[in-house]
């Protein structure tokens, strides 16, 4: 499956936010808004990796573990996703 090219600016952030909300619904079974923090899963939770794998698969975003565990809001994580995607994009 080819991954969508990362967009620019608000498009990219919005896309990342929407993907995160969907992923959190699937993996964590919670409906989150952009300003909601991810529930505290505990650092050892395997669910964090479920999220990471889906971010990689759907958006080509390789977000480091420590970023996922920082307690960011959905929007904050979306920013990390956008950054990770732009790092991965071919130049």
């Amino acid at each position: 499956m080819t991954q969508p090219e990362p967009g620019t600016g608000d498009d990219a952030l919005g896309e990342a936010e929407r993907a995160l909300v969907e992923i959190c619904r699937e993996v964590l079974r919670v409906d989150l808004g952009p300003d909601d923090r991810l529930p505290d899963l505990g650092t050892r939770s395997i669910l964090i990796i479920e999220i990471a794998v889906r971010l990689q698969d759907r958006l080509g975003a390789d977000v480091p573990l420590e970023t996922l565990l920082e307690g960011r809001t959905v929007r904050g994580l979306a920013e990390a996703v956008v950054e990770a995607r732009s790092e991965a994009a071919p130049r």
Binding site: I46, I48, I49, A52, V53, Q56, D57, D62, L65, E66
Partner: protein, 345 residues
């Protein structure tokens, strides 16, 4: 009637192919950095060996191949001709086929014939079960030499076409926790200078009214379209129960031989993962005993585990040294343990 001493005369092991590290697995299955970081931190196991080719899925070694190699090494180290083997016992949770049993394929290849053979279908306590059965056969019959074998391969559980997002995370973690491998030991009665004596061995099912911590299905024509996952693992249940069960197993084996923890020179703990081994060792609380652990490099080799540990420690044993090994099986919950002592004569 005097019960003869049972000596562990030799051990042999076999690992397929190269060590496969976490980075290689992550790259092969397109997994993100976070996955690798999580594994490094919370699982700890660094590498393992596979009987299949990770790229193609081709099975390069069968369990029979690995067990044969291990058996050959053990027989050679014991300077024992296959014709002198009186009984063969093998344990595994992953036989190549249900019929013929892998133990009989291996016996055939090694040139062992005309003797009783037993295959134990078992998880991580299997090697100790095999030890117990072989020891009893040596004690109760005219038998003098036993070949004991154990091993597992994950070949049947591996779908090299799998896409990480489609596979339950527990199954992925399983895939890197476990490693393929086989081991063998030669046991004998009668004087055998310079080899450790099996002072005690026990296994005990403690699974009444408990849900399994692991399940593994087998399929045939009738249920090929089965919807249930072929393998499940309840890591939480394992983490909650395994350390305590291991501690109980150590207490039981030590009580059985009249030793205290402080008598132990070496301790061979369960090997689910590097992190779990650390936690179990804390629970076992035998600081004077040196732990013998291979899990970091070869993963959880199931029915082969004690052979790999014994291989490491046997050359180091001095007269009077005492060691205890402990296993916990998290399917229907089995505690097991054994004690060896390097007798001076």
């Amino acid at each position: 009637m005097d019960r003869p001493d049972i000596h562990l005369l030799a051990v042999g092991t076999s690992l397929p192919g190269p060590a496969v590290d976490n980075a290689t697995l992550a790259a092969r299955f397109g997994l993100p950095r976070a996955w690798e970081q999580w594994i490094d931190t919370f699982v700890g196991t660094r590498s393992r060996h596979y009987a299949i080719d990770l790229e193609t899925g081709e099975r390069r070694y069968t369990l029979a191949d690995l067990a044969e190699a291990a058996g050959r090494r053990a027989l050679a180290a014991a300077e024992l001709d296959p014709a002198e083997v009186d009984v063969v016992v093998m344990s595994t949770s992953s036989p190549d086929m249900l019929m013929p049993a892998t133990v009989n394929v291996v016996a055939d290849r090694l040139g062992v014939d005309g003797v009783p053979t037993f295959q134990l279908q078992s998880g991580c306590a299997g090697a100790v079960q095999a030890l117990e059965v072989a020891a009893q056969m040596l004690r109760c019959g005219p038998h003098r030499r036993a070949l004991v074998l154990g091993g597992d391969t994950s070949a049947k559980h591996f779908d090299v076409g799998m896409r990480a997002p489609d596979v339950p995370m527990e199954a992925q973690v399983n895939g890197l926790l476990f490693g393929d491998g086989a081991g063998a030991a030669v046991l004998g009665t009668g004087p055998a200078y310079g080899s450790p004596v099996l002072r005690g061995v026990f296994t005990r099912l403690v699974g009444r009214d408990r849900s399994p911590g692991q399940t593994v299905e087998w399929f045939s024509w009738g249920d090929r379209t089965m919807d249930r996952p072929p393998v499940t693992e309840d890591f939480k249940a394992v983490e909650e129960s395994a350390p305590r069960m291991a501690a109980e197993a150590l207490d039981e084996v030590l009580d059985g031989v009249g030793w205290k923890k402080s008598d132990l020179d070496y301790l061979l703990p369960p090997q689910l993962s590097a992190r779990m081994t650390e936690r179990v060792l804390e629970e076992l609380d035998a600081p004077g005993a040196e732990p013998v652990s291979r899990v970091l490099e070869i993963g959880n080799t199931g029915n082969a585990i004690p052979y790999f540990q014994l291989e490491q420690v046997l050359p180091r044993l001095a007269d009077g040294d005492r060691l205890a090994g402990v296993s916990v099986e998290a399917s229907k919950w089995i505690k097991a343990g054994y004690a060896l002592e390097m007798a001076a004569h």
